[in-house]
């Protein structure tokens, strides 16, 4: 920690930083209003999958960068799970050195263009910004600037491929190609390992592709990162389910010496209420995967998704917002969120909630489905919803929902998307009886090393955490790579 602090101090005292700080008075910096993200108009964007946020212009980015006062004690960094050197990359933007800014991001974050789009900065770096903490003003738009720098680098065609050590001839396997897996693969490739990523689906990217819709995270952003990894020598095997297509033992026989499991939390959860098996009731995983990955919105495909006019999405997280906004794009006249607490308690990012509202999504808060009904063909047509009220706060600090007796009402629907969370993917743990798991089905690891009960198996991301953010999964991938490297060197 001390090392990190003195490193940050020495970075801050570099001449270019000192000069830049002197260029504009702190008072003038703090008077600049926060930049507004450019967006595609709601009426236009609901017609397609075009990305909602269109990024900042160079001028906007540089002006926003001037707001950062380059604090002596940069509290924003403590809010970042991978401790990006935030003032440094922002000052590089202010300076106009955008590629340098991207380099700073890449020192600790493998997927900055992704994080700039999907990280909950309002709870992380921006919540710890000097503006939020001391000035009680809107924080520096760190997330927008991160995205700007990463996008600039990608669009410039000057993507820096990290330096790779000489190949050491040792094979390691990565199970899953989500944010944890991709980060792990990149880090291990840098260290000279021969890395193969095994992906169960036909496309690489894990939750970044199947879970997050194009209008929030375009696939080409992820593809660019995958291309970089390929250039670094990482090999990808798609349609390969470790534990089914081949076992860990089979892979060991092929020469793989160690494994990283980043297979995520792709097992949908349901509420187990009457009628939940009717046709037209899907998990958000199924709904989004079929649309994002299987092109099921196109009714001419083999397995098109039912495109209801009245779509109810149950839940209040980002996945619920992604689902309901997708429904809107599929032409739903009425796309509703049903959430058992109030708007204030929703786990979804504020930005996503605002975008959903702008797009005409209806929010039925303090309501919870308790039963589904269907027509004679078994197709869901009504949901019985019970009103809720809020009781005392629970351990999350949010007021607990309590059912209001006798308040049930029926709501007409043709599609219901259940988005009440996910569980860890059970395939890898199920195939390895000796692998210790928790009562939740997550893989048990040593928190310091991310090593599992099988010494050659490391794990990270949602398969360990249950369900968390992209950046934490990336952090795990990075840490696991470092620890696996140490393990293999000492083996």
């Amino acid at each position: 920690m001390e090392d990190r602090n003195s490193y940050l101090k020495s970075e801050r005292s570099q001449e270019w930083r000192e000069e830049l700080r002197k260029k504009i008075k702190a008072k003038d910096r703090t008077d600049v209003p926060r930049v507004k993200m450019n967006e595609v108009d709601a009426s236009e964007r609901v017609q397609s999958y075009i990305e909602v946020n269109s990024g900042l212009t160079q001028e906007q980015a540089q002006k926003e960068a001037t707001r950062c006062v380059d604090c002596a004690n940069p509290t924003c960094i403590t809010g970042c799970p991978v401790e990006i050197n935030i003032p440094k990359f922002i000052k590089r933007i202010e300076q106009g050195e955008f590629l340098e800014a991207a380099k700073v991001l890449k020192e600790t974050s493998t997927l900055p263009a992704v994080c700039g789009r999907v990280c909950p900065q309002e709870k992380q770096c921006e919540a710890n910004c000097f503006y939020t903490q001391k000035l009680k003003k809107e924080p520096v738009a760190i997330g927008y600037l991160e995205r700007f720098a990463a996008d600039y680098e990608r669009e410039s065609g000057q993507i820096s491929i990290p330096e790779i050590k000489e190949k050491n001839g040792r094979k390691v396997a990565c199970i899953g190609s989500g944010p944890a897996g991709l980060t792990f693969a990149g880090e291990m490739a840098k260290k000279g390992y021969d890395v193969t990523v095994f992906e169960a689906l036909h496309e690489i990217g894990g939750v970044l592709k199947y879970g997050i819709p194009e209008f929030r995270l375009p696939n080409n952003i992820v593809d660019v990162e995958i291309e970089s990894l390929k250039k670094m020598g990482v090999q990808f095997e798609t349609n390969f389910i470790v534990g089914k297509t081949a076992s860990i033992e089979d892979l060991k026989e092929e020469g793989f010496e160690a494994f990283f499991t980043g297979s995520g939390a792709g097992l949908p959860r349901f509420m187990n209420i009457p009628g939940e098996n009717y046709i037209g009731i899907l998990s958000s995983n199924e709904y989004l995967t079929r649309i994002n990955l299987m092109h099921a919105a196109d009714q001419t495909t083999d397995t098109p998704v039912v495109s209801g006019n009245k779509v109810m999405v149950v839940g209040g997280g980002n996945t619920a917002m992604d689902s309901v906004r997708t429904a809107k794009r599929l032409g739903a006249e009425r796309a509703m969120i049903v959430y058992r607490r109030s708007m204030e308690e929703m786990p979804a990012r504020l930005e996503e909630i605002e975008h959903a509202k702008e797009e005409g999504v209806e929010f039925m808060t303090l309501a919870n489905p308790i039963e589904y009904f269907a027509n004679e063909k078994g197709q869901v047509n009504q949901v019985k919803v019970q009103k809720m009220e809020l009781g005392e706060p629970d351990a999350s600090g949010r007021r607990r929902p309590i059912p209001v007796e006798g308040s049930e009402e029926l709501i007409e629907v043709d599609t219901v998307v259940v988005s009440v969370g996910v569980s860890p993917n059970p395939i890898v743990p199920d195939s390895l009886p000796e692998l210790k798991t928790t009562s939740w089905g997550t893989i048990q690891v040593n928190e310091e090393t991310l090593q599992s009960s099988m010494p050659e198996m490391f794990a990270g991301g949602d398969i360990v955490r249950g369900g968390a953010t992209v950046i934490l999964a990336m952090g795990d991938g990075r840490k696991a790579a470092q620890k696996m490297d140490e393990y293999l060197k000492n083996k």
């Binding site: 799970p81 209420i273 007796e405 969370g421 249950g466 934490l472």
Partner: protein, 334 residues
């Protein structure tokens, strides 16, 4: 050989003794031992919605990540916990069914009518022979109207009956502003049986540390009077079966309950105190008593001493001691 067989909620029982819902009924091993001990049926340990809420709270406390990074994962985690509990119970029922041949009655304690339906359906699917609803919540809300609680009970029964086809019993508290009227309403709602009464967790104080602690856990052999009174009062007035619970520690008390009109008796505390072997003892003593009195079957004496408004109401309805102590000399006490 006396005929102890009895019919409860349409289920044929070999005798009137049921092991009530408790920790003993929470495992296959426990259920096997209970069946071997001679009990005629068993009520599974209640699934408490309250416990699930508490576990959700504990999970949030322990597992909520820094900056709420896994809030979306934990937001509806109570449903996951609920499913786990129901799955465990389903497995318990499935395995127990292979091992024992006495009826298994499921037991639920939920806080709201919305949740009851799914729980009840799940237990029916798991194979329980009947369901006991353990509805009571301590009515300490000074703003709540008395009829609201009653309405809740009735709506729960209505919804559960609508959704499942196995017999349904409701376990009630001995407290109500008009217990007789409430029991009649429950009977009219179509419930198959009423268990009288629920025994609650008691509160006590430690006077040296000012701490609030748990009161005595078990009933005593003197705790049956209130149940006896109410079974007697209601047995001739309801169509559903009545199951007597609380303070049943001997064959004599069981006989009294049946005389009052109970179809079955539920024992728990006695088993914790004296072991499962006491069931055989109780059954033997019931038979000996029937022999002495010349009864051949349980049905012959069921309801023989219940409350008759025109004949013996004064004995059942009296609650003030009035003349009872008038013959005693207070000086003897002082």
């Amino acid at each position: 050989m006396k005929i102890l067989e009895t019919k409860y909620m349409g289920l044929r029982l070999k005798n009137p003794i049921i092991v009530g819902s408790c920790g003993l009924t929470a495992s296959v091993e426990g259920l096997k031992r209970i069946a071997q001990s001679g009990a005629a049926a068993v009520v599974l340990k209640s699934i408490f919605e309250e416990e699930i809420i508490k576990e959700h709270e504990d999970t949030l406390k322990k597992k909520l990540g820094y900056q709420d990074n896994n809030l979306e994962f934990l937001d509806y985690f109570d449903y996951q916990l609920k499913n786990d509990v129901l799955k465990k119970t389903a497995t318990l029922v499935e395995e127990a069914k292979k091992e024992i041949d006495i009826p298994i009655i499921g037991s639920l304690n939920c806080a709201s009518s919305g949740e009851w339906i799914s729980y009840a359906k799940n237990l029916e699917k798991a194979g329980v022979d009947a369901l006991e609803l353990n509805v009571f919540k301590l009515p300490f809300d000074i703003d709540q109207k008395p009829e609201e609680q009653e309405k809740l009970y009735l709506s729960i029964i209505d919804k559960v009956k609508e959704n499942i086809s196995i017999p349904v019993c409701i376990k009630i508290a001995p407290y109500s502003s008009n217990l007789a009227a409430m029991i009649k309403k429950l009977d009219d709602s179509g419930v198959n049986a009423i268990t009288m009464f629920n025994r609650f967790y008691n509160v006590d104080f430690d006077i040296m540390t000012d701490e609030v602690k748990a009161g005595g856990t078990y009933s005593s052999d003197q705790d049956y009077y209130n149940t006896l009174r109410w079974i007697s009062i209601m047995s001739g007035k309801v169509n559903c079966d009545l199951s007597a619970s609380t303070g049943i520690h001997s064959a004599e008390t069981a006989i009294k309950m049946i005389m009052a009109g109970a179809t079955t008796v539920q024992v728990v505390s006695k088993l914790y105190k004296d072991g499962l072997g006491s069931i055989a003892g109780m059954l033997k003593n019931i038979e000996l008593w029937m022999d002495k009195r010349g009864y051949l079957s349980i049905d012959e004496f069921r309801g023989s001493v219940h409350h008759e408004p025109k004949e013996n109401s004064e004995k059942f309805e009296r609650v003030q001691f009035m003349k009872y102590f008038s013959g005693h000399n207070p000086d003897q006490v002082i």
